[in-house]
Subunit: 233 residues, 2 copies
Amino acid sequence: MSLLDVSLVIDIPPFRGIERENLAELLSWARSERVEKDRTIFSQGEEAHSFFLLLDGHVRVVKVTPDGDQVIARYISSGELFGIAQALGLGSYPANAVAAVDCVVLSWPGSLWTTITEKYPTFATNTYKTVGARLQDAQDRIVEMATERVEQRVANAVLKLANQTGKKTDEGILIDFPISRQDISEMTGTTLHTVSRLLSAWENEGLVKSRRKKITVIEGHKLAVIAAGNSDK
Amino acid sequence: MSLLDVSLVIDIPPFRGIERENLAELLSWARSERVEKDRTIFSQGEEAHSFFLLLDGHVRVVKVTPDGDQVIARYISSGELFGIAQALGLGSYPANAVAAVDCVVLSWPGSLWTTITEKYPTFATNTYKTVGARLQDAQDRIVEMATERVEQRVANAVLKLANQTGKKTDEGILIDFPISRQDISEMTGTTLHTVSRLLSAWENEGLVKSRRKKITVIEGHKLAVIAAGNSDK
DNA sequence: CGAAGCCTTGATGCGCCTCAACGTACGTGG
DNA sequence: CCACGTACGTTGAGGCGCATCAAGGCTTCG
C-alpha cells in the first residue's frame, strides 16, 4: 500500500463535490493495490468485505450460472465504483470481478460504508445515481435481448465499448483493452462463432477492423444503422 | 383526496422503522388516488413529477421500444414503491405504469424526494435496498435471457408471479390478477403463440390450469424442474 | 346478439446454435 | 531465438427451436 494523493481522485465522479480535506480522510481509510491482468478481485457469492474504486485499467464483471455459463454484466472503466454490494443491501458479491488489464484499485472495508455515506451525503448521492444508471442500463439490455436480433445486439455492444473506452487511432476507434469473440458473445447472449462471423462480414464491408483480441471501429454510423435494425429489410 | 390513516402504511416495508408521528407528516404530504383498471399512471418519457406507493392492486411497468414492441419490466404488488425516478437521478420516467386491476395509489411530488430522504434516513435506506433488489433482479433476468430457453423462462415467470402474488385456492395457487398469454410473452421475450402452446402442454400434464387471463399453478415443483432446464435431456 | 378481444393449433421457414475441423497468433522453455 | 503447445479465430454443414403466417373457436361485454 502506497501513499495516496488527493489529486488522484479529486476529479473522479463519485467524489466530485467533496472538500479537499475530507477527501484526504476518505483516502486515508482506503487501501491501494495493483492487480495484474486476469486476476480475480472478488468472487460471486463471497462475503462482501470491501467496496472498490477503479483508479486505472478495466475490470470485467461476470456472472456465472450453476451450469457454468458466463454472462458479462458490464465492463468497469477507470474512475468507476464497483463491488458496491453494501449500497444494494447485499451481504455477498453477486458476480465475479476480473482485471481485464493490469489495474490499480482502491478499496475500503465494507464496514465503513454507512459511516462514509452518512458523513458525506454527496458521495451517497453520487453513488446512488450510479446505481440508478446501472439499473437503467440493465433494463435496456433486457429490452434489447427481448426484441432485437443477434446482429443488432452485437453491433450495439461493440459501439458501446468503443464509445465507453475507445481510443482514437489513425484507422478509427480502438477498444483499448483485449477483448475476445467469446467476451462479446458473453455480453450479448450468443456464441463466439456467431460473433466471429459477424465481425468477419463487417470487416469485409470495411465497418471494422479486428485482430486477435483487438477491435477497431471504422464506420461507427454504419454500425449504428445495423444496431438500429435497418440492416436491409 | 381522502384522509389517510397512519395504520394504512405503518406495516409497509419502505416505511418500516419510522415513528408514528413522522409517518403522519409523510402522509400529510401525500395524495391518495383510486386508479381504475387499465388506466395509465405515468408514461415513459414524461417528466417525473411524482413518485408513488401502491396501497392496493397490481401495477404493470412496461417499456416500449421505438418500433412499438412492449417489454414488461416488472409487476408491482401492493406495498411497493414505484415510479421512483428521483432515486435514480432521472428527470423522466423510463417506462409506462398501468393499473393491472383497480388500484389505490399514494403519490408525493418529486420535489419532496430530497426533503424526505434527508429527514427520514430510514426511508432512504429502505428505498435504496429496493433499488438494489431490482438491479439484482434485472441482472438475473439478463442472465436468464442469455442462457435459458423459452420454455424455462416462461416456467420461471409463471412461478415468480405465483410466488409473488399467488392466492391459494382449492385447486392450487392462482395468480390473482388478470394476465394474458401476451403479457407473459412480453415478460419473457417470446410470442403469445409459444406461451399458449406451453400452457396447453402443461395443462395436459396437469402442471397448471388456465382460463382466459387466469392461471393456476398446480404442480409448482414440476414447473420448477422445467424452469431449471431438466425437462428431459 | 353481435363484435371485439383473447386463445388455440397447424404449417412453414429461417436465424442462430451446435458440431467439426482447421488455420493462426502468442508466449514460453529448451 | 526458434519450436512447440495452447489459446484464439475462422469457416463450413446440418439441424432445431421458435418466430411467423394463417385460420378458426371461444369468452366477455356493451
